[in-house]
C-alpha cells in the first residue's frame, strides 16, 4: 500500500509540475468550453431587429403577457428619421421599419432576406390581429399554444459540455499513459522498478489511479464552470457520468499504452496519441453534433470509444435518460480497453532498442 501511495504521489507531482500537460488536459479544453458556451450560445435566440418610427400606440399598449412574448421575438429601437430607418432596412442592419398612421400600421421590409422578412412580418401581423381581436371584446374562439419537439440537448452548452469533457479526458488519459510508458522506458525507470520489491500490478494501478483522479478533477471543473456560468442544466442521473468516465479513462489509457508500445520516444508517443485522439474527438461529436452526419460517418464513429462515452454522457447528463442507459456504453468502453490492451501487449518491450 505504501508503494502504491508513494508511486501515485510521484506520478501526480510529475503531472502537476508539467505545465504543458496541465495546459493541454485542463485549460485547453476549458478554452473550447468558454468559446462554444459563451459565444455560440445566443445563436438560437437571435431576435428580429425592428425600428419603430414615431409613436406606435399598438406596440406601446400591449397587455403584459403579449408584451413579454413580443420582447422575446423583437428587439425594438426608436427613431424619428424615416429615411435613415429605411436606409437601415436596405442595408440589412434591421429587418423591419414600422410606422403608424392613424389605424394603419405600415411595415417597410427588404427582399434581400425574404425568409427573415416574411417571418418578421408574419409575427408582427399576429400581434396586430390579436390586438384587433382584443378591441372587439369577444373571447377568442380558438386558442393557440405550442410546444417544441426538440429536447434541451439542442442548446449549445448542453451539447458541448459532455463532448468537450470526453475529449479532455481522452487527451489526458492517452497522453499520460503514452508519456509514462515511453518516458520510464527510455530513462530505464521501468527496469529500475522491476528491481524494486513492488509488483507490476502496483505500478499500473498507481498510474491508472492518478489518471482517474485527474479525470474526476476535470469533470468537476468542467461541469462546475458550465453550470455556474453557461447555464448547463444537469438531468436526473448525471452522477452516472462518473462510472462512465472511469470506463472511458481505461479505454483511452489503453490507446495511450498502444501509442507508447509502438513508438520509441516520448515525443513520438504523444504525437501518436494525438493522432489517435484528435480525429476521434471530431468523429465522435465532441465539437459538433453528428445528427446530420452521413451514414458512413455514423458507422465509423460507432467504432470509436469516445463516441460511446459522449453518447452515454449526453444520455445521463442532459437528455434525462435513466442511469441504466449508461450501462451499454460502459461495457463497450471496457471491451474496447481489453482489446487494445491485448494488442499493445504484443508490441510492448521493456526497453528501447
Amino acid at each position: 500500500m505504501t508503494g502504491f501511495l508513494s508511486l501515485s504521489a510521484a506520478i501526480l507531482k510529475g503531472f502537476i509540475r508539467d505545465k504543458q500537460a496541465v495546459f493541454f488536459s485542463i485549460f485547453f479544453p476549458l478554452m473550447f468550453l468558454v468559446l462554444f458556451g459563451g459565444i455560440f450560445s445566443d445563436q438560437s435566440q437571435s431576435k428580429i431587429v425592428v425600428v419603430q418610427v414615431g409613436e406606435i400606440a399598438l406596440l406601446d399598449d400591449l397587455p403584459p403577457q403579449a408584451q413579454s412574448a413580443f420582447d422575446d421575438a423583437f428587439a425594438v429601437t426608436s427613431s424619428d428619421d424615416l429615411d435613415a430607418a429605411l436606409q437601415d432596412v436596405r442595408d440589412g442592419d434591421v429587418t423591419l421599419a414600422v410606422e403608424q398612421h392613424g389605424k394603419d400600421i405600415l411595415v417597410h421590409y427588404s427582399d434581400a432576406d425574404q425568409v427573415q422578412a416574411a417571418v418578421a412580418q408574419g409575427t408582427l401581423q399576429a400581434f396586430v390581429q390579436s390586438a384587433n381581436l382584443a378591441v372587439t371584446g369577444q373571447p377568442p374562439t380558438f386558442n393557440y399554444s405550442s410546444q417544441r419537439v426538440e429536447d434541451e440537448s439542442l442548446e449549445t452548452i448542453q451539447f458541448v459540455t459532455p463532448g468537450l469533457l470526453g475529449w479532455a479526458i481522452a487527451t489526458n488519459a492517452a497522453f499520460g499513459a503514452a508519456a509514462t510508458l515511453t518516458g520510464w522506458r527510455s530513462t530505464k525507470l521501468l527496469r529500475r522498478l522491476r528491481l524494486a520489491p513492488v509488483s507490476t500490478r502496483t505500478v499500473v494501478a498507481a498510474r491508472i489511479g492518478v489518471t482517474m483522479a485527474i479525470a474526476l478533477v476535470q469533470t468537476v471543473i468542467f461541469i462546475g464552470l458550465a453550470v455556474a456560468f453557461f447555464g448547463l442544466k444537469l438531468s436526473g442521473s448525471w452522477w452516472m457520468a462518473v462510472p462512465l468516465l472511469i470506463c472511458g479513462t481505461l479505454s483511452f489509457m489503453a490507446l495511450g499504452l498502444l501509442a507508447g508500445a509502438i513508438t520509441q520516444t516520448v515525443e513520438g508517443a504523444t504525437s501518436l496519441a494525438n493522432i489517435f485522439v484528435l480525429p476521434m474527438a471530431f468523429l465522435s461529436g465532441s465539437f459538433f453534433p453528428l445528427d446530420d452526419a452521413p451514414k458512413w460517418l455514423d458507422v465509423v464513429s460507432h467504432l470509436l470509444p469516445l463516441r460511446h462515452l459522449n453518447d452515454g454522457m449526453l444520455d445521463v447528463m442532459v437528455r434525462g435518460n435513466g442511469p441504466e442507459s449508461a450501462l451499454i456504453p460502459m461495457l463497450i468502453l471496457i471491451g474496447f480497453a481489453a482489446v487494445v490492451l491485448v494488442v499493445a501487449g504484443r508490441f510492448f518491450r521493456w526497453e528501447t532498442d
Partner: protein
C-alpha cells in the same frame, strides 16, 4: 566468507551477436568486484543477467544462494541496483526521488535524507533532478540504490558520462560503499578506476573473461618491469645500456626510457651519474595488461 554470486557457463546471444560467451566467476562476500572492458564487451549484459533482468541462454547464476530468474521478489530487498542511465521519476526533487525509492522498499523517509548527505547532496535536496549536474545525478542514483541498505550493490558504469574531476570526486563515495561488509559489483571501462577501487577485476572483451585477479596481481603477472624515463640530455641511449639492471632502452620524443626488473639498482646508478633530471618512474597498469591480453590498444 562465502560466495554471494556464482556465475557458471553463462551465454547470451542476440541474433548473430554473442554478447556473453561462456562466462564463469564468483564474487565473495564483502568484496569490491570490478568488471572491466571496452564498450560492447558484454559487461552490462552479464550484470543484467545476474540482477535478474534477463534470462541467460544457457549456464546458471546464483545470487545470494537463489536463482535471480524469473523475477525473485525475495531477493530484491537484499540487492541495490544503479542502472547505466539515471532512472528517475520526472520532475521530482532529489529528496522526493530518494524518499519515493525509500518507501518502495519500506524504509523510513529519514534514511533518504541521511543518504543524500552521505553522497554530498544536502544542498541539492530541493532541486529537481533535471537541473542536477551529471555527477550529482550519479550520486543521487547511487544513493537511491543504497537507501534500503542492501547487502549487495550493483553499479553499472557509475562514472560513465563524467569528466575526470567529477569521476575522482565520486570515487570517494564509491570507496566507502563496501564498509560494513557490503559487497559491491561495478562495471567500468576506465582502467584507472578499476585499479583504484576494486579488490578483484575481471577483464572482459567480446563476451569472454580474459583474466580475473586483483589489479596488482594482474599487473605483476605481466612481468612487464618498471619504466624509468629521464631527459635525453643527461643520458644517451648508449650510456643507458651500460647501466646495471637495465633490460632494454627506448628513445622517445623527449625522453630516454629504461625498462628494468631491478628498479632500485637502476635508480642508484642514475643517482650516481647525477642523471635524475626529469625522472619519471611508471609501473605497468591494467592498460598494459589489456594490451598484452588482446594485442589491441585499449580504447574505451
Amino acid at each position: 566468507m562465502g560466495d554471494v554470486i556464482t556465475v557458471d557457463g553463462v551465454r547470451k546471444t542476440y541474433g548473430n551477436l554473442t554478447a556473453v560467451d561462456g562466462v564463469d566467476f564468483a564474487v565473495e562476500s564483502g568484496e569490491f568486484f570490478g568488471i572491466l572492458g571496452p564498450n560492447g564487451a558484454g559487461k552490462t549484459t552479464i550484470l543484467e543477467i545476474i540482477e535478474g533482468l534477463r534470462a541467460a541462454d544457457s549456464g546458471s547464476v546464483s545470487l545470494l544462494g537463489a536463482s535471480p530468474w524469473p523475477r525473485n521478489a525475495a531477493l530484491l530487498p537484499r540487492i541495490g541496483v544503479q542502472l547505466q542511465a539515471s532512472a528517475f521519476f520526472e520532475r521530482l526533487t532529489a529528496r522526493e526521488q530518494i524518499q519515493t525509492f525509500a518507501s518502495l522498499y519500506g524504509v523510513r523517509a529519514a534514511a533518504g535524507d541521511e543518504w543524500l548527505s552521505r553522497v554530498g547532496l544536502d544542498e541539492k535536496a530541493d532541486t529537481r533532478t533535471e537541473k542536477l549536474s551529471g555527477g550529482q545525478r550519479q550520486r543521487l542514483s547511487i544513493a537511491c540504490a543504497l537507501v534500503h541498505e542492501p547487502e549487495l550493490v550493483f553499479l553499472d558504469e557509475p562514472t560513465g558520462a563524467l569528466d575526470p574531476q567529477a569521476r575522482r570526486n565520486l570515487w570517494d563515495v564509491l570507496r566507502s560503499l563496501n564498509e560494513h561488509g557490503r559487497t559491491v559489483v561495478l562495471t567500468t571501462h576506465y582502467m584507472d578506476e578499476a585499479e583504484a577501487l576494486c579488490d578483484r577485476v575481471a577483464i572482459m572483451d567480446r563476451g569472454k573473461i580474459l583474466q580475473l585477479d586483483s589489479p596488482a596481481t594482474l599487473i605483476r603477472g605481466l612481468d612487464a618491469g618498471v619504466r624509468i624515463s629521464v631527459q635525453p640530455s643527461v643520458l644517451s641511449v648508449h650510456d643507458a645500456l651500460q647501466l646495471n639492471g637495465v633490460d632494454s632502452v627506448e628513445e622517445e620524443a623527449s625522453s630516454v626510457v629504461l625498462t628494468t626488473h631491478d628498479p632500485s639498482t637502476v635508480l642508484a646508478e642514475l643517482a650516481a651519474r647525477a642523471a635524475l633530471q626529469g625522472l619519471q618512474v611508471k609501473n605497468a597498469t591494467l592498460e598494459d595488461v589489456f594490451l598484452t591480453l588482446t594485442g589491441r590498444e585499449y580504447r574505451a
